[in-house]
Symmetry: C2
Subunit: 350 residues, 2 copies
Amino acid sequence: MGIREVAKLAGVSVSTVSRTLNETTYVKDETRLRVLDAAHRLNYSPNAFAKGLKSNKSNTIALVIPDISNMIFPKITQGVEKVMRKNGYITVLCNTGEDCGAEQDYIKFLTGQRIDGFIFATLTKNTAYINELRDQGIPVVLAGRYNDESIDAIGVDNFKAGYEATKYQIEIGHQKIVFVMGNPKLCLYEQRLAGYKKALEDYGLKFREEYVLYELYDSISLYSQTRKLFERIPDIEAIVASSDPKAFMLMRALRDMGKDIPGDVSIVGIDDVEFSSIIDPPLSTVAQPLTEMGELAAKKLIAQIKHKEKTGKLMEPTVDILDVKLIVRGTTRKRRQNESDRHKFVELEQ
Amino acid sequence: MGIREVAKLAGVSVSTVSRTLNETTYVKDETRLRVLDAAHRLNYSPNAFAKGLKSNKSNTIALVIPDISNMIFPKITQGVEKVMRKNGYITVLCNTGEDCGAEQDYIKFLTGQRIDGFIFATLTKNTAYINELRDQGIPVVLAGRYNDESIDAIGVDNFKAGYEATKYQIEIGHQKIVFVMGNPKLCLYEQRLAGYKKALEDYGLKFREEYVLYELYDSISLYSQTRKLFERIPDIEAIVASSDPKAFMLMRALRDMGKDIPGDVSIVGIDDVEFSSIIDPPLSTVAQPLTEMGELAAKKLIAQIKHKEKTGKLMEPTVDILDVKLIVRGTTRKRRQNESDRHKFVELEQ
DNA sequence: ACTATTCAAGAAAACGTTTTCATAAAATAG
DNA sequence: CTATTTTATGAAAACGTTTTCTTGAATAGT
């Protein structure tokens, strides 16, 4: 089942078989046909190990993500895989479980496996070992993080996302706006928070530390923290959640406290995961183009790989920032003038 | 950076280096230390291509799924990847997009890439090319489907899932129970439907074809179909959805028609995806252990791979069926005695 | 008609390992 | 003290390709 068998059946040398199959130089039409036929008859498929050994190419890339069951990553993954497959690359999945150590181990292991390139969608700040990878000449692109100009990246405008979400809440009349913060180690949350602050500032509202709710530990803790916050400050009017899943958790907590959404609290998220449009009421949110991000990251990586194959060097890194877009759905609502108006409104609706 | 450099630095032959690194036969302690030190100093990592060429092992498996952004697959994927990584295997992700042709292309391509084994979580009935794969001696395990005893598989008891969901609706007093059917090409839906029918029968209820709602095309169409069904048969009391995402879509449609859940319609799903517990009200559903399914499939595949390495043959295939469990949450509710009672109830609550 | 050039195809080297074969020293047995 | 076994290592073959080096035939240029 090797190339030798094909050669024998076609009555040519192995070199000729290789040449026809790889279309590398001249081979007479008549011979080519014989070879192709033989290869087909023997159901020949070249040994990837041998090929790789010569070419030092695996046609395999690694997608490193923290947690595939976190809703934003399947979309990114889908985009990456699709583009890779179309271009003849295989995608290996590395689920690091948000564990930096595991990530490094994985990288070390994969480097030995001669991976052609890496896409990192992990979101921690520490990029030392990632830069190292690039310094070794291995193509790397970051998806969803771009704290560093020294590496190729596709990101979204997280600052704008935070800004737009907040701006909208302000423009529909809210002033007491809580920001739900995520893990501060991830710069995307910092950027979103910065956007929130800037919007407040631009509209002459004062930033108050007690209005930002930090997600400590996990999303369960967010539930109890929400209740505590609303007990302390009952007149909160609006919420900007730094991610959709956080918005879901808050909606849950609020509902359990007897609050109506958007009647009592106007909520806007950031992400636009698939579920945001399915829940009731559908979540208003700032959408980031996740699948597109994956696709672009994949294309960028392929471009680097090809360039490296040709020239032996990597291109200068660039970072592309994708735009975000506010989608108004059912969880946001104009502020009513005062309490008495509000009751009127409620009665009217029933 | 090859083994030769290590050998030179350690002052030994390449054979000795290989032997120390693979711990295959005798090598003097003193020599071993020298080699290890040299390898470490040169940051040596063996070339996977060369290794594979000799051993015919890639330490790589392929996970074939229809759609990673379909909520049940990230969980399975997570389970597979975790076990694989722990055992030194790499997982390549194959997202076929429910397209059988693409799947076959992918398989052909991967077979050439010398993949050690396959896990299929795709759910179509046609297994001809999968059986072929096994006949070629390639380890294969199916996750989530088990229509065939000739291949290793991990499945869930889909019949029981349909049965338990229906049984519960009956036991809390409902009689007019709609079943929402999925793609009939997937045997898991057929099995769930069979469970529904059997439960009806066991409780002396008649199966009515007009009570099963077929998801034609996509989940969007399900929305309009739901409305049509309830216009035609307004007194439906309960719904058994053959998957949680379908339940979500129905809840949406029902809500838009002004129906209260579970007040007017009692709904139970099957799957227990992460979101089911997050939405409001949280979905009652029959849970299948998705992550566990992935883990077990991975373990089974590894067992086959190891066995094949040792004996050159595959073990007799076995299929394991995991149990499912009804989780009662907020979308199900006991039937009230009659219409007048019902109005009373509603008033009381307000 | 004789040399360049292009076309066509085989022989053999190379890729970086592992593994077999060979050999020698050391340990053990009789 | 020799004969065998065990321990330890090097040389070389093998894995299945691609690619360089040759060589030969055909075509073209004067």
